[in-house]
């Protein structure tokens, strides 16, 4: 049996999952005191899976590879998941390095070393796929490094700005 806490759209659910002995497709799940039958139909299901039947409701889902979000018919929903049986709990890395999410051309830089920034504040503009893309601060803090300048091209994953 496995036990998780899942927070979705601000509501937290405790989910207990039990494999049914007969089959790898069926699970018995206990959530908020209710017993549900869950089926992950075999077939060409990759990890993460893309369809599942919960309590007779088929869900065609797209899951983020890092399980940060789930897309179902009702839209996209942010999720947080915690393994309640994990012995060691590590903190998130708290990485403040802002890397290029896509190769492109730096068209503007709005911050300098020493600037204090808020979450969501514009750091720079990156042109890629014919669009000006504003790159925002992933966390609040102080800019400790700016490695790019306007006119420079950056590769995928290249470090551009560091906030700490």
């Amino acid at each position: 049996m496995s036990k998780y806490a899942v927070t979705i759209e601000g509501t937290t659910f405790e989910v207990e999952i039990q494999h049914l002995p007969a089959s790898a497709e069926f699970f018995s799940v206990r959530v908020n005191g209710e017993e549900l039958m869950v089926r992950v139909p075999k077939g060409d299901q990759p990890t993460p899976m893309h369809w599942i039947i919960v309590d007779n409701k088929p869900y065609e889902v797209v899951l983020d590879t890092e399980l940060r979000w789930i897309k179902a018919w009702s839209g996209w929903h942010a999720a947080e998941i915690r393994d309640l049986e994990a012995v060691v709990e590590r903190p998130t890395s708290g990485d403040g390095r802002v890397k290029a999410p896509i190769p492109g051309l730096i068209t503007a830089v709005f911050v300098r070393v020493g600037d204090e920034v808020k979450v969501g504040q514009a750091l720079l503009e990156l042109e890629a796929m014919k669009m000006e893309n504003e790159i925002q601060a992933p966390r609040a803090g102080v800019v400790t490094e700016v490695r790019v300048r306007p006119g420079q091209t950056v590769g995928m994953g290249e470090m551009m700005v560091e906030i700490s």
């Binding site: 899942v6 899976m49 889902v61 797209v62 890092e66 915690r82 796929m129 014919k130 925002q136």
Partner: protein, 493 residues
Amino acid sequence: MFNKVLIANRGEIAVRIIRTLRDMGIWTIAVYHEEDIHSLHVRLADEAIALKQKVDDPQAAEILEIAHATGAEAIHPGYSFGAERYDFARPVEKEGFVFIGPPSQVIRELNRKVTMLERAEQAGFRTPRHSDTAFNVGDMEAIRRAADELGYPVVIKARRGGRGRGVRLVRRPEQLERMVQSAGAEAMAVYHDSRIYLERAIYPVLHVDVQILADRHGNVIHLGERCSALQHHNQKIICETPAPCLSEQQRRQVWEMAIELARLFGYENAGTVEFLVEPGGEIYFSDFKARIQIEHPVTEMVTGIDLVQEQLRLAAGEPLRWRQQDIRFEGHAMQCRINAEDPWKNFLPSPGSLRRFRLPGGLHVRVDTYGYTGGYVPRVYDPLLAKVIVWGESRDACIGRMRRALQDFIIQGIPTNLPLHQGILNHPAFLAGRYEAMLTQEAGLNEPADEAHLRDLAVIMAVAYMRRHQAPQPVIPERLTTGWHRSARRLPQ
């Protein structure tokens, strides 16, 4: 009609044109840059020739060489801004090929935006107030003077215009210089011409386009209007016809103005006349596009007319097949642009492999796309991946069908802007057809979900998490192996 036609474009545009040509039994010649080898248009064409250059911005010389070698009789430029390039259309004509579009002289005139607007003004059309001339981006003093004269907010526009590129809304004088540089850089990249002009901003404003068809025998008809007020990153992401935001009188007014403007500029072939409409009721002529638009399928849905087929007939010199009174508009049509953009990362482009790509289908649902399961969204082109177009007997029926179609569009491998559309389709202002109210509010990305639904989603996440651990060869980042795996990012509100 032609036997062989070369399509000098890529992606969904090339796919859409190839389909009509093949419906007509015409041999299709596609071109592709290496980045596009896995695009559907390469696979659907009868012949596909590799290009050295990128395809969205074709140089005439290489295309003409291919046209000669393959025996093409005509060249379709597609309907991106490449269709409006005089330096492409002119050589095509000069070497004796048919250019599927208006004569290059007409393109040249329509490209000079300031002159074109002034000609319309002289003929009595109201246009948005604009600077008298276009500027080099270095000439900040003159630009600043012109902006002060027009008054803020002011819009910077590329002299060459088109596709919302090189456009910036400037609210305060201190933003002007940065915006001019940014707009100029974009215009340079897209049009090879960094010159810009200024226009007084009308805000809030509705964008209404009228589709026209004109033959070379003096006949001009319109095929109704399209309303695409919903913009995101300056691109029209949702579009519909008939426009819910126009009164019956305004509708007839834009129709008539479009026909008069087509006559004024001696237009030929399929074109698009763009208007700005103030919620108060004032109508401004803002641009004349020498091509059809990305949004043309909604017009095809309500009229039953294949616009690409008519472009071919008109370019071949045939007269229009209909008089205005023959055109009938049935029901309502809507288009959503599905972009490869990550709504979780401020709509950054999201190129990559389409691991699963299952299209919605059924009655009155059309999808135009270059994607397929196993296909690829390249890094170097714009993020438009697919267009979902639906028809309904009423606007409500149309919205209901679109909602269902978007729910059934399964794209795995890359994030897309699908959730943005789903949010808009549930937004009360959009449902009421009050576009102007949409401009000031951001749509939420989610439908309201009840507790039982959220519970199911939580169960799915838990099962997915557990299965990852049970996978025989887990490729799990360290942060996922235990505990809170990562603070979930909230969606942009």
